[in-house]
C-alpha cells in the first residue's frame, strides 16, 4: 500500500507553538497528531495558596491575546462561590470589556491571519500590497478594540482593573460616549467584512459536529448562560465536569477534551452562531442573511464569515452599551473571606473557557481548574484533519500541506493558551502516490 506522511514543523499564523503529523496509507488517513504543550496547567499550580482576589490578574497572564476572557471566567466563578451579586452597571461594563477583546481578536484573525489563506498569500505582509485598504481597515478596527480594553482594563496589556465584585475603577459616561463615533464606523466596517468574506471560495467540506456554547435567554452569550449543544446538552457551569472529561494523549503535553460518551465537540464562533442565531441583534442577523449564512453552518472554513458576523455583533453591542451606560453607585462590592467553591464558563473569542476555584475560610485558593477553548477544540481539529486530509490525496504535497494548515486556522487556535508555534512536516515514502 502506498503511504505518505504530512508533517508541519512550524504552522504560521496561529498563536503559539506546536506541530502536526499526518500519516496516510493510500487514500486512508492512518494517523493524525497535533503535538502541543499546556502551560495553563502550571498556572493552576501557581494559583494554589494565593488569595482569590489575585486570580483575575494571575490568570490574565496565561495569554496575551485573550486576557479578558481569563479575567471574566475567574471573577464569575469566584463570585458564584461567594454568592456575590454584582451591580447591573458593572455587568454591562464587563460585557463591553469582552466586546473589546472580541473586536481585537476577531479582527486579527479575520483580516490578518485567515484571509491570506483564501486569497492565496503567504501572509498578510504579502497581501498588504494588493489589498492595502483591507489591512488599513483591520488596523483601525483593532485599535478600536484596544481602546475599549485600555479604557476598562487600565492599560492595554495585562489589564489590571478587573476585581472580584466589579472593577477597581470604572469609566465615566462621557468616556464611553467618546467611543461612539469610532464604534459606529466599526459596525459599518464589519458589515463590509461580512459581505466580502462571504464572497471567498470555500472547500466543500461539512462535518456532523456537536456544537457547544453558552445560551442566555435574552442576549448573545458572553459572560453568562447555560451550556448547551445541538445534541441535547443543557447544563449549568457547575455540572461541566460531569459531562466533559480531559485526557492525556501520548503525542502531546496538551490534554484533550471530549463530551463523555460521545467524543469530540466544537466550541467557538460556529457553535455560538448555530446555537444563538436568534439572539444576535437585527443588524448582525440581517448581515448574515444577506451573506446567505444561515444556521447550522457545518463547513469550518466558513467560520471566517461567522467571525465577521460576530464582529458586527461586538461592535453593535459596544455601541448599545456606550449609549445606555450609567456609572455604578460603587465600582465594586466588598467580598468576604470565606470558604467556597465556584465554577463559571464565559465565551472567549475562540469558545468556552471553564474555570473552577475552591478556597478556604481565609479566601486562599486550594484548587483551581482551567479548561481553555483551544484545548477543547484540539480533538475536533484532529478529527477534521482526519476527514479533510482524505480529500487531499490527489493534491500535490505543497498544496495539501497548505490546506491542512488552513484547516487548523479555521479554529483560530490560541496555542499560547496551550503552547507556542505549531510545526507541520510532510514526509513521503518512495512509493508515494503523490508527485
Amino acid at each position: 500500500m502506498t503511504a505518505r506522511t504530512i508533517k508541519v514543523e512550524t504552522l504560521a499564523r496561529v498563536e503559539g507553538e506546536g506541530s502536526l503529523y499526518i500519516k496516510m496509507a493510500g487514500d486512508r488517513v492512518a494517523d493524525v497528531k497535533l503535538k502541543i504543550y499546556e502551560p495553563p496547567r502550571m498556572f493552576e499550580a501557581f494559583l494554589r495558596g494565593r488569595h482569590y482576589s489575585e486570580a483575575p490578574d494571575i490568570t490574565a497572564r496565561i495569554c496575551g491575546i485573550c486576557p479578558i476572557a481569563y479575567q471574566m471566567s475567574a471573577v464569575h466563578a469566584i463570585e458564584r462561590a461567594l454568592g456575590v451579586r454584582i451591580d447591573p452597571a458593572v455587568r454591562l461594563l464587563r460585557r463591553l470589556f469582552y466586546c473589546g477583546e472580541w473586536i481585537e481578536s476577531h479582527t486579527l484573525h479575520v483580516y490578518m491571519l485567515h484571509t491570506p489563506d483564501f486569497l492565496g498569500y503567504e501572509d498578510v505582509i504579502a497581501m498588504a500590497g494588493a489589498h492595502r485598504q483591507v489591512v488599513e481597515t483591520a488596523l483601525r478596527l483593532k485599535k478600536i478594540g484596544n481602546r475599549i480594553v485600555s479604557l476598562l482594563g487600565g492599560r492595554e496589556i495585562h489589564p489590571i482593573s478587573t476585581a472580584v465584585g466589579g472593577f477597581y475603577k470604572t469609566p465615566t459616561k462621557a468616556q464611553l460616549l467618546e467611543l461612539l463615533p469610532d464604534l459606529e464606523w466599526a459596525v459599518q466596517a464589519s458589515l463590509d467584512a461580512v459581505q466580502w468574506t462571504a464572497g471567498l471560495d470555500f472547500p466543500n467540506f461539512e462535518q456532523d459536529y456537536e456544537f457547544v456554547a453558552l445560551r442566555h435567554p435574552d442576549e448573545y452569550p458572553l459572560n453568562e448562560g447555560r451550556l448547551v449543544s445541538n445534541r441535547g446538552l443543557d447544563i449549568d457551569a457547575a455540572e461541566y465536569e460531569d459531562h466533559f472529561t480531559e485526557y492525556h494523549v501520548k503525542h502531546s503535553n496538551a490534554l484533550q477534551s471530549v463530551v463523555r460518551g460521545r467524543g469530540s465537540y466544537l466550541v467557538g464562533p460556529l457553535a455560538r452562531f448555530n446555537l444563538n442565531f436568534d439572539k444576535l441583534p437585527a443588524v448582525a442577523q440581517e448581515a448574515a442573511t444577506r451573506a446567505r449564512l444561515q444556521p447550522p453552518v457545518k463547513n469550518p472554513f466558513r467560520s471566517i464569515i461567522v467571525r465577521a458576523v460576530e464582529l458586527v455583533f461586538a461592535c453593535a453591542e459596544a455601541c448599545r452599551i456606550a449609549r445606555e451606560y450609567e456609572p455604578p453607585v460603587a465600582p465594586r462590592c466588598e467580598t468576604p473571606d470565606r470558604a467556597g467553591m465556584g465554577q463559571a464558563i464565559t465565551e472567549a473569542p475562540r469558545g468556552i473557557l471553564y474555570h473552577r476555584y475552591a478556597f478556604d475560610d481565609k479566601g486562599l485558593i486550594l484548587t483551581a481548574k482551567i479548561v481553555p477553548p483551544t484545548s477543547q477544540n484540539l480533538r475536533r481539529i484532529e478529527d477534521d484533519l482526519r476527514e479533510y486530509a482524505a480529500q487531499l490525496v490527489a493534491w500535490p504535497q505543497k498544496e495539501a500541506t497548505w490546506k491542512c494548515e488552513q484547516a487548523i486556522r479555521n479554529y483560530d487556535p490560541c496555542i499560547s493558551c496551550a503552547t507556542h508555534f505549531l510545526n507541520l512536516v510532510v514526509d513521503r515514502t518512495e512509493d508515494s502516490i503523490l508527485p
Partner: protein
C-alpha cells in the same frame, strides 16, 4: 525624542527580557511604552513617532543572553530568526509597516537571545544580565544608529 517600546510577557521566562530592560530604563526616569509584541499594537505604538527603539526577546540559536541589534529601516528584517511567543509579532509588524509605508524614519530593534519561555518562570540569569547591559547601551545612545548586522 526617542520612543522606546519594550515587548514581551514577563510571566513567560525569558520572554520577559523586554520588561527587564524597561524596568532598568524606568529607574533612570526614561519613559517606556510596554507592548505585548502583537503586531497591530506595535504599529499603533510607533505611529507618528520618527525615532523608535524596540526591545524584545529573540531566538536565533546564539548563546542565551546574546544582544542582537538591527537597524530595521535599512534592510528587510530577519523574520525567520526572530521568534518569540507572539504568533504575529515584532518581525511581522516591521515588514507590514514597510509595505504600508508606516515605518518610523529611524527604527532600532534590540533582541535579547532567549532560552526558555516557561509560564511563571523567572528569566534566565544570562537574560537578566543582558537586560542591564542593554539598558545601559540604550541610555548612552538614545539617538542610536546600530549596525544592520546582528551583534
Amino acid at each position: 525624542m526617542t520612543t522606546i517600546i519594550c515587548c514581551g510577557n514577563p510571566d513567560r521566562g525569558d520572554d520577559g527580557a523586554g520588561f527587564l530592560v524597561a524596568k532598568q530604563l524606568q529607574t533612570f526616569g526614561v519613559p517606556v511604552k510596554m507592548c505585548s509584541g502583537e503586531a497591530t499594537s506595535l504599529l499603533d505604538a510607533w505611529t507618528g513617532q520618527a525615532n523608535v527603539v524596540v526591545v524584545d526577546a529573540v531566538r536565533t540559536g546564539d548563546p542565551v543572553g546574546t544582544i542582537h541589534r538591527w537597524a530595521a529601516t535599512e534592510a528587510a528584517f530577519p523574520r525567520a530568526r526572530f521568534a518569540s511567543t507572539h504568533g504575529f509579532g515584532v518581525a511581522e509588524a516591521i515588514e507590514l509597516a514597510r509595505t504600508l509605508g508606516l515605518l518610523p524614519s529611524q527604527l532600532c530593534v534590540y533582541g535579547i537571545e532567549a532560552g526558555q519561555f516557561e509560564p511563571g518562570a523567572d528569566p534566565s540569569a544570562a537574560v537578566q544580565q543582558a537586560a542591564v547591559t542593554l539598558a545601559a547601551e540604550i541610555l548612552e545612545g538614545l539617538d542610536c544608529a546600530p549596525s544592520s548586522q546582528p551583534g
